[in-house]
Structure formats: structure tokens, C-alpha cells
């Protein structure tokens, strides 16, 4: 039996970049080690904004000044893949790929759309099972801190075209 009423009781108000938001305890993501550069911040929330989609926001619930624009990496790099180490799988209490959400952090320089980058070297891995999050660092040399988003999208489009030429729509 799901205790719906219990969930709503646990909602608390938090001050964020997007104003005051009501968040249930069960929606809070705990980064026990913090995020490099922000080790002192532990509690975060993924804020979905229709207005900024496909960009979503990792918001600190402890410091409203701190938020990260994040994205599903597959929207930028269609063949993005990596393996999670045993330690991480254990830490996140996960069993199958659907138990995690993966996000990558974007860096968006002001007024310079050609230089928007995404950090594929250090993805955020968030467990839907225990609501823990961690920013891992991949040893894979394919991935770097700054992938140009424009170029990656172009590359992904080309891969998709090759894979399914019959699905290609006429211009």
C-alpha cells in the first residue's frame, strides 16, 4: 500500500534559483561527497523546466545561488556509454540500468552559443533506488571536460542518419 498522504506531508519549501519550490524528502538527491568545487553542499533537486527543456537544473537546496544546467547526455552524444564500477553500483544500490538517471553538466558562456560545452568526462549518476547522487570521473579517453555541443549534435545526427536512412524525412 502506498501512503500518498505521508508523502505530501513531508513536503518542505526551499528557496531556489526558480523561486520557492515545494519538495518532498523523497525527491531530494543526496550527494554525500558533494560535487567537486561544492563539497560542502549535499542536498540537491532536479528541476524540470519546460521553458528550458532539454536543459534541466540540478539545484542546491542549501544554497539558492548554486545551480547547474544539466542534460541527458544522449541528446548531445547519441552513442554515449560507460560502465559503472562495482563500488558505485553498490553505493547506489542499483541492479539494472533503469535504476539510474544520468545527467551531464553544461557550461554555457554568456552570449557565445558556438562555445556551449558539455562535460562528458564527469557525468552525474543518480540512483532512483536510494536517491544518492555522485559525480564520477571516467577513465575513458574518449570523453573530455569540454565537448562542443553544436559539433556533438551534428555528429549524432550523422550517426542517426546512417543507422536509419529509411526513416529520414524529406526536407
Amino acid at each position: 500500500m502506498k501512503e500518498v498522504s505521508k508523502l505530501s506531508q513531508n513536503k518542505k519549501k526551499y528557496e531556489t534559483k526558480f523561486g520557492e519550490i515545494e519538495i518532498a524528502d523523497s525527491e531530494i538527491i543526496t550527494f554525500e561527497n558533494g560535487i567537486p568545487g561544492f563539497e560542502y553542499l549535499k542536498k540537491f533537486y532536479i528541476y524540470f523546466s519546460k521553458e528550458t527543456f532539454p536543459i534541466q537544473w540540478l539545484l542546491s537546496l542549501e544554497n539558492p545561488e548554486i545551480s547547474f544546467p544539466v542534460i541527458d547526455p544522449l541528446l548531445v552524444r547519441v552513442d554515449y556509454a560507460f560502465e559503472l564500477s562495482k563500488d558505485i553500483v553498490e553505493y547506489l544500490s542499483i541492479e539494472k540500468p533503469e535504476d539510474v538517471k544520468i545527467f551531464t553538466i553544461m557550461t554555457i558562456p554568456h552570449g557565445d552559443p558556438d562555445n556551449i560545452t558539455v562535460n562528458l568526462k564527469a557525468p552525474l549518476v543518480i540512483s532512483k533506488v536510494n536517491n544518492k547522487g555522485i559525480q564520477i570521473i571516467l577513465e575513458n579517453e574518449k570523453y573530455h571536460l569540454k565537448h562542443n555541443v553544436k559539433e556533438e549534435i551534428k555528429r549524432s545526427d550523422e550517426i542517426l542518419k546512417k543507422q536509419a536512412p529509411e526513416k529520414e524525412r524529406g526536407a
Binding site: 567537486p36 553544461m106 557550461t107 570521473i137
Partner: protein, 77 residues
């Protein structure tokens, strides 16, 4: 900074409260030292320059002002 001199195969034991981290010099070749670590998983061990570069990237990611031009990149032609 505490400075200790260690030879090949010698180590250092670090204790934080009830946790022990063991560090050992495995080999020295030219100017590269191979170091082994042994301890509970609570210790996250990083190459310093890698950790710092990710730190810097994260910090610049928080300095976003205007994202109106970002959506355009994802609009299908």
C-alpha cells in the same frame, strides 16, 4: 606540510578517526612514482589535476546567465 621520505616498497598509514588508509610506493621509474592505495571505500582518491579541472568546470557551469540561445541548438531542422 608534513614531509616524509619513503623508499621503494615503503608506505604511509593515515588514520582518520577509526578509518585507515594505507599508501605504498610500488615502484620508482625516472620521475614517475607508482603509488598504491588501500582503504575503505569512503576514501575517494583522485589525481589532483583531474579533480581540480572538474572543480573548475563545475564552477564555471554555475555561472550561467542566459540560456535562450541553447534551445536553438536542439531544434530539429
Amino acid at each position: 606540510m608534513l614531509v616524509l621520505s619513503r623508499k621503494n616498497d615503503e608506505g604511509i598509514t593515515i588514520m582518520i578517526e577509526d578509518k585507515i588508509l594505507k599508501i605504498k610506493v610500488l615502484s620508482i621509474e625516472g620521475n614517475a612514482v607508482k603509488i598504491g592505495f588501500e582503504g575503505p571505500k569512503d576514501f575517494k582518491i583522485y589525481r589532483e589535476e583531474v579533480y581540480e579541472s572538474i572543480m573548475k568546470e563545475n564552477i564555471s557551469a554555475t555561472k550561467v546567465e542566459d540560456i535562450s540561445h541553447v534551445k536553438k541548438l536542439f531544434e530539429k531542422k
